[in-house]
Symmetry: D3
Subunit: 256 residues, 6 copies
């Protein structure tokens, strides 16, 4: 049994509280075990300069931790005057992942700003951010549909993310907490859609390597976790979830 009593393929308790804040168009507080992230989605009625006039929308994400989200206090990036490489990597990943399940043409010249602020960290903050941000974004887009600013929800599929890893003692495990992550030989983040397609795979063996067989086991484990996360997202979204109807796969490929 793992350090917190879980089985190898078991998620930590997951809770998504929709409409957590008063001001944003969409917001959630997502808790995965002790990891807690506030995700908000803000709609802006224009796109960045490099996209103007194309009739397409854009989705961009920012990520931060409050200083004592972690065991040791971190210096604020605002105080350091620059954003770390780790933060930039995570921000780019979140934005890219969400863009893969939104029809940007249908969104029109709007920008969705996603903000993921970690208030408590215990491993898996980037995957919790993606999973929570998907719900916050869908809530915000749902509000646009309700206000007749969009004819239909431009979300083409569900989207969630989780981490998997290889532990010296337990082998392949799902949803690593901080202690597990710190000693994992291989660490992998997987982003998938509701249709079971991959959106992003980032597998890393820091001072280590992994085989094709291990990779396969990691991916299957991730897929199981993501299915459960999507079920929880559906609950949080309520009736709005029914408006997400993935196109048949061959169709979606033709539209590229």
């Amino acid at each position: 049994m793992r350090v917190d009593g879980r089985g190898n393929f078991e998620l930590r308790p997951v809770h998504i509280e929709p409409n957590y804040l008063k001001h944003p168009e969409g917001s959630v507080l997502i808790a995965i075990g002790d990891t807690k992230v506030i995700c908000t989605a803000s709609i802006e009625d224009k796109v960045p300069p490099f996209m103007r006039g194309e009739g397409k929308g854009w989705i961009t994400a920012e990520y931060a931790m409050i200083p004592r989200a972690t065991e040791q206090r971190n210096v604020r990036e605002a105080s350091k005057g620059k954003v770390s490489g780790r933060t930039m990597e995570i921000q780019r990943l979140i934005g890219r992942a969400l863009r893969s399940v939104v029809d940007l043409q249908q969104l029109g010249e709007k920008t969705i700003w996603i903000d993921c602020d970690v208030i408590q960290a215990d491993g898996g903050t980037r995957t919790a951010s993606i999973t929570g941000a998907f719900v916050a974004m869908t809530l915000a887009l749902g509000k646009l549909v309700e206000e007749k600013k969009l004819p239909a929800l431009p979300v083409t599929d569900f989207l969630a993310a989780t981490s998997v890893g290889i532990d010296a003692e337990h082998g392949v495990i799902l949803d690593l907490n901080y202690a597990e992550d710190a000693k994992a030989q291989v660490d992998m983040n997987v982003v998938m859609t509701g249709s079971g397609q991959f959106v992003e795979i980032q597998g890393t063996g820091e001072e280590s390597t992994f085989s094709r067989e291990q990779l396969n086991e990691l991916l299957m484990t991730a897929e199981g976790g993501i299915r459960q996360l999507i079920a929880i997202q559906k609950e949080a979204l309520g009736a709005l979830a029914d408006q997400i109807v993935p196109k048949a796969l061959n169709e979606s490929e033709e539209t590229k």
Copy 2:
């Protein structure tokens, strides 16, 4: 009656949730109306270079808002690469206020890092930060006493803050929300101790001025609000509150 139905000298509902986060030595979530701030206190076993070797402690504070704490999304200060003048003013105020009720000699060569992260803003974020940070700091110092790292709680008095203002329609009002703050003729922040002494008064007439009589009325109103806030702090601190025993005033003045 005011926009939210309050009387002129009435606070918004105040709630302080102690030990809100897992990692920090002290933490609270303070809610004053729709204003919500996470305050944490972190203890570091050294002081900044300019104070080393003096045997005294230090308290420093940082303040930030998540981007959608407000009606319109704000650009993150980390993305801008610098901290705004407003943020710096607030940070300096919080640190100064807390230092006035801690016996830094008794604290010894330790730094208390206060972090105030606003997750929802509706006016009065700086005074809510001070009021909440006092509780978070006392919780952290209480833990040091419990762990025998300090012989006694080095907190010399209670401390809370509130805003008062002059409204064209209602005259002097207590605890302004954002809408009231935006149209106030005079805006004043007052920090006081449990003994009714002033720690800080910042009164400003932006494009306006105020008389001595108005000042007196503002200060009396603030005092009433601060007394209520301190009562709520005592509840949140529980038994720890009893360890805060203000020295008689003339005594405290001799020690300067």
Copy 3:
């Protein structure tokens, strides 16, 4: 008697040299004891983006010290690449204070840039800056009137500032020099108009507190000093001073 032989309620010698520099629309060298500040006012024919199209003007201030204005050399903020919290606080205070006595509607879409450069510091640089900047600004606006670019001087009242404090030995004292400021228990900056209205009060007990009675004594002492400073401003402004006619108070309040 105080360290420099002054009485408790006595200002240091004050000298204001108008039109000190060749290029700026308005400029003074103000000396208050050993504190010397060059204040300039520059008129720009546009307002910042957030104010365009409102038909109102804006006043903004910047403050700096040359590195050896002080006993020890300070690192230049340009070399550090950022402006300190203290500088930002002072800049915001100067701008806010001046805006309270200018009719921005009457000024029209112009920006007045105030620059206060301390060439020698001995306490009270921020209050000397406000007192000198008022004269520089009025000289610049007077020139606009002379050149028929404004129909009348949009200055609604005189404005000056001074510091007061509580000293362990002398009690309440006026216009603290650096040595007095460093050991004061309470430090307060007061900005007032010629009509005796407050514009800004910033009172601070760093590691200390103060009572209502002490506050009253501090404010009365400040008022006495400010009256003298305004008399000196009038001399420096010459005939221009006569164009400043404060509206009756109740009138000015109706215009808000």
Copy 4:
């Protein structure tokens, strides 16, 4: 046939010029088609502060492009005053990849600085950087062995990287040039060792997704390319290549 006449599983011409520069301990110019990168390895006799006293070495990488490496001139990151998210991601990837094949314990408290400067870009600059940097690093470490500063080459295996992708017209293709990369539906970078183990997999479907079958085909194609790249690395390293003797896999796993 692909735009440049290659077959789907064919690399562009690869050339590695060892000892390209005079000053660095190790250096190469690697050309993969029109992509040209100068890779240097510098040895420093200390490790970063967070690692001191552990007896282990460290490898860190930096990556940049000259402004006209690309079709359009890019603003220098030094002029912008900050490093982009893309650059940081690539730098972290290069460092992580190289650390997976060096025995840092055996290296001792030294830092290897890897610099990858792209002088001409036509797609695949990050994978060319890893492939070239491995040779530069090995040359530098070989020099340490020669100078008796290390008892043996602490390189545990060969390491190379390539890109694979899915093209709407051609399906899975190897070693994408810039034109192919810009229109690929899925883009994947794969880093592997000489023993055929994965070190890093980064697969992304920007505004797209991919299935398990497609993933498998991508990985097989990458493996074929990487084998050829390692053959070319061996040539460039000459006799030094013989000193790289991968431990048996089960052994290497025990040492973790």
Copy 5:
């Protein structure tokens, strides 16, 4: 004889490889001894804001070294987040020098971006940059003429630069390498045209001085070196060199 066997007035071997890179409008690799610089010229169809509407062009230059261009690794300026004073001086010098031999009126509202990236440094990188950049710029302008975007080559004369210095042992010497530069008493950079006119003289005696006689000898030595450099530039430019026809001197002076 000098450390590398040269006579006092002898240049190191000079090689200019035109069209070194694929993307830029003009590019060279210039090698002067072990100093190697990639110079590129990029044409942009607009001028900086301060010059718009004047119908004139602009030339601006940037300069950088890769970290291991030198004996010791230098920290990247992008990582430091700022450009050093030395770099800025060199950049300004290169731009100024090139502008002196281009008819900016004839160029029209275009900007020529010059980038000089030192890949190996052994003294004289700034003069090699000017000498190489002149060729890269002329190649780029020649392409504009060829494409009928300019009626004629707007280059009014050849331009090259070299360093001269005073060595304690050898006296006046030409084209100092790094070892010579480090111990020179006087260091001078001279930029001249094909007509033998000075464009820039920068002579410095760091912790030393020089007389009028020494100055004369330095300048004559520089002139000899520059003549040889211009001959090599002509070879590199081929037929394009014939399109550079300096106006008679008195004429060019009248047009100022």
Copy 6:
């Protein structure tokens, strides 16, 4: 006659006020025509890290303008967050020039910080800065001698600087004011010692060139101006001037 009625070889009125400020070890206000610069010298009892343990001193300079020193207001470099290339060039020049006339060995491990703050600019600010800074520095070093912290004045010669230029109408002119500088064809700054040796020559033909004959005339003109400036420096220094005894030239050359 020139725009201000001067002859071609005539300086503007020069005034040096020694001991202008209270705090610095040495300070002057230098006025050359309408150009006014406050120069201060601060002594620090250590050298920068790269020089520790060598037993030698160091001199470094910083330069700035207050925003309205000029006709148009300049944005502060502290607000921009970075120092311009022009400022860096000037700072490096001032430091280098002063180091050429100080025996750094005799100074010992001290740093002299020179600060030149331009309060009014009308051309020639960098040469006025050097000329004034030499006096401020000598005053500071004189104080060290007086306080027995140095056995003798480590100043080996006088040092002053001026500008010369070529004007289309007047030919070679001395000490250009701003209007003359803006239209000069050639602009040259010359730094010389009391013994008539050159320390620095920086001659530039922006969009222009100059011949050997013109260079000779420029240098002779500069020499005349510098002689007069040194006479004025001697007056400002009073008795201290007598302690500056240039070594015979051949001697000084042997000590290199």
